[in-house]
Point group: C2
């Protein structure tokens, strides 16, 4: 690349930017702090206002500061590692029928009780959702759609919503059209329809280890065997291990969450994404991609979907608005590639249609720019919450624990001392009105005995801080 | 029974009632005609107003006339047989994997196109649904529920709705509590969760012959084999035939629509309901009861559910509001008896939750009495539509056809001359922009080659009348 000549102007604003950067590095300005206005900075550093503006843009580009509308510039929460990360998982190499459904239901129930501090919840706090705006759009949809709102919205489902999805798919690195989507009752229905479309009972399905317990329960319900593949807490699925597993087993499908995995929070590098899609395409193995958290990166661009590398129609992309907008609206989607007709037929026999008016409300919200606006706030909030909870854990948990440092999503995955039994810890925490996700829930073989998932989906508060403290004490006692 | 002495008063009103009854019998007063006011009748027949009132009550008791609020008394549509009924089905005695999914999707699609006369549609016309009222309640629910409306409504689902269902269950002959119900995304989800709860792939499931194609497709999707049992167009499932089949096959479950079956419209007598439940209870075989049409009787009391005879918790009752209120709201329910926990766990992995606000809107509608009020109108309308379409078919179709005479629901099942191929007829009709349900759609073995289902879910109109005429001509040509 030819270096452009550096102008005097660039030198000036670069000097200002590096001074402010140093203040941030030194902790003089801390995450969440408001930095001086452009006018004030121009005065402080003796440069023109336009030079100060250029400096701020440069700092924003580097992810050090961020503009908040009508408020000014702020130091961004920094994604620095708080604790050492757990090593990649080493699950045993045999496939297994799952079957710990009762545990899953218990966690769901505990997490939704209002008297419980929901560190086990997999969905965001109401406080982070655009409740009033969405409910207002839903009310407006009841008025403007009349009979259409009450009638079946047969598969592939709500055209206005599919149009918005097609437009958004550019951000995922895809070029999907409205005709590539089928709307569903949440990503959960998309996932189960995808599984049913590409497997038959008894088949082996490769999954990350650990993985979202909803995937494991879905496999269980369909009589499918889970084959857990070693997964790295930063880069995700271990492709070499998957390759080895493919030589030993006849794998019918692979379920992957490449972007901000639940519970690991890992983000698969683009090179790995491409390699994974190519590797499975060679053997014509379908990939079910769960992209429920793809919109919630903490910095930089929205990550690509595996689907963006799919040239053979083998990737079934599943997503929803349950993690960012309205879990109770039950609106998700599937872009099932070559399995389109199969998924569409299964959708008819599973629920016939997706609720009409909630889809129209969400389509309208996206179309008006409300979703993008809301995502900017949600990303910042989640990043802050993850950072706050990370620090609180580092302070109150026993020494020697390891913890992930996610760059998106809302989960922390924590490796506790070997002596700690996560299921016992979960029971004890529940007696203190605190819910957590015990590690065995995330494994078909109930591994991760001494791991827990902590959710950061609720706004930081004294209540959360105290709960993390209590949890830390319980963990210390168990480790002693 | 001891005969009570007949009073002079009773003689007087009985004379008036029988005079008016004769006018109806002779066709002087015809279905839908308004009969004279009580005052006018008292004058016409020279009796007191109170005697005339008694006469009208007696006529109402006999099902000859009906009161319409704020409007007066009308001659009821009469459920007299228009044509001879088809004989009971005689399906072959082996179990079979299904697999005509494409046909089902085609019928659904054709029936929902606005340019097509929807004689093939399985759901009511928008014009018969309380669109404005329900949408208004939904809008109100968005305002009054705030964050609750946007959050997950975890299984068993919406408590206010389950409370209303418990109250309504008395009308079904049941005494269910709110804790017996799980709400679902329509009866379709209730059905598929029930099937998944009590069967495993490869199992044999007994079904009526013919039966709702949605059931067949669900079996297909789950790798289950359909065993078609002879079914009578008036009394429903042939219990002796089912008994014989149970001796020959190992049946995992039985799917039955005892009340106003789709497509037969048959109503199983209470004695048969009790016998069926007892017969399967002896062998511990679960019954999945589809009661989607139970609320739409044309006269008399709401029929009982099979569930009302269930002493062992083996009946999984499935229902919805899609046939009477709002297909697009996707609200149904399951009362799964002893399989409660299983169905609840499967619900979590299938769609996690049922859409929150539509459930609250429907619960409110029922609670305010809107549902009962609406049902009274719907029952009358469906009865009239079925009667009108029956007559039109008798006039325009080839001689010698046979047809059911349903006492509820919205379907007519027609046996055409042997020469007529229903699939060809369906294709020809579609070219004339008319959709129908070809017989083979309702059989795992694609029997009923010369049968069609005609839906009466849309208000009688010149358009429907012309379409039935065209259909009759096509059938005559095919029979010639």
């Amino acid at each position: 690349m030819i270096q452009e000549p550096v102008s005097a102007d660039a030198l000036l604003y670069e000097r200002v930017a590096s001074r402010i950067g140093k203040l941030i590095d030194d902790g003089v300005l801390r995450p969440g702090d408001r930095i001086p206005s452009v006018r004030r900075s121009s005065h402080q550093h003796g440069v023109s206002v336009s030079t100060a503006v250029q400096a701020y843009i440069a700092l924003e580009d580097r992810g050090l500061i961020e503009a908040r509308p009508k408020s000014g510039f702020y130091v961004r929460p920094r994604l620095h590692r708080v604790l050492a990360e757990p090593r990649a998982s080493r699950p045993s190499a045999s496939a297994k029928l799952v079957g710990n459904t009762a545990l899953m239901a218990r966690i769901f129930e505990a997490a939704s009780r209002p008297d419980v501090v929901p560190l086990g919840a997999g969905c965001p706090s109401d406080a982070l959702l655009p409740t009033t705006k969405l409910n207002r759009l839903l009310a407006a949809a009841t008025r403007s759609n009349g009979a259409r709102g009450i009638g079946y919205d047969l598969p592939p489902g709500c055209e206005p919503l599919r149009r918005q999805l097609a437009r958004r798919s550019l951000d995922w690195g895809c070029h999907l059209g409205p005709e590539d989507f089928i709307t569903t009752c949440g990503a959960t229905e998309a996932l189960i329809l995808s599984l049913r479309a590409v497997t038959k009972p008894g088949d082996i399905v490769a999954v990350e280890s650990p993985t979202y317990f909803g995937v494991l329960q879905a496999l269980d319900g369909l009589g499918l065997k889970a084959l857990e593949i070693p997964t790295h807490p930063r880069d995700g699925l271990d492709l070499a291990a998957l390759g080895a597993a493919m030589r030993r087993h006849r794998i019918a499908a692979c379920v992957v969450t490449p972007n901000f995995h639940n519970p690991l929070g890992c983000l698969m590098p683009d090179a790995n994404k491409r390699a994974l899609v190519e590797m499975l395409a060679k053997r014509e193995i379908p990939i079910i991609e769960d992209d429920a958290y793809g919109d919630v990166q903490f910095e930089g661009e929205r990550p690509r979907a595996l689907k963006s590398y799919d040239t053979k129609g083998l990737v079934l992309l599943c997503g929803s608005f349950s993690k960012t907008l309205a879990p109770g609206y039950r609106v998700g989607f599937c872009a099932p590639g070559r399995f389109f007709e199969k998924v569409k037929a299964l959708k008819l026999t599973n629920t016939i249609a997706t609720p009409t008016l909630p889809q129209l409300a969400i389509a309208e919200f996206i179309q008006r720019g409300g979703y993008d606006h809301h995502l900017r706030a949600v990303r910042r909030t989640y990043a802050e919450q993850v950072q706050r909870v990370s620090h609180a854990i580092a302070e109150s948990f026993p020494p020697g624990i390891k913890m992930t440092c996610p760059h998106g999503g809302m989960f922390l995955w924590i490796e506790l001392p070997r002596k700690v039994d996560a299921l016992e810890l979960s029971d004890r925490a529940q007696r203190e009105e605190i819910s957590i996700g015990p590690g065995p829930l995330f494994s078909a073989k109930q591994q991760f005995r001494n791991f827990i998932r902590v959710s950061c989906g609720h706004p930081w508060s004294g209540r959360i801080e105290r709960a993390v403290g209590v949890l830390g004490s319980l963990a210390k006692r168990a480790a002693a």
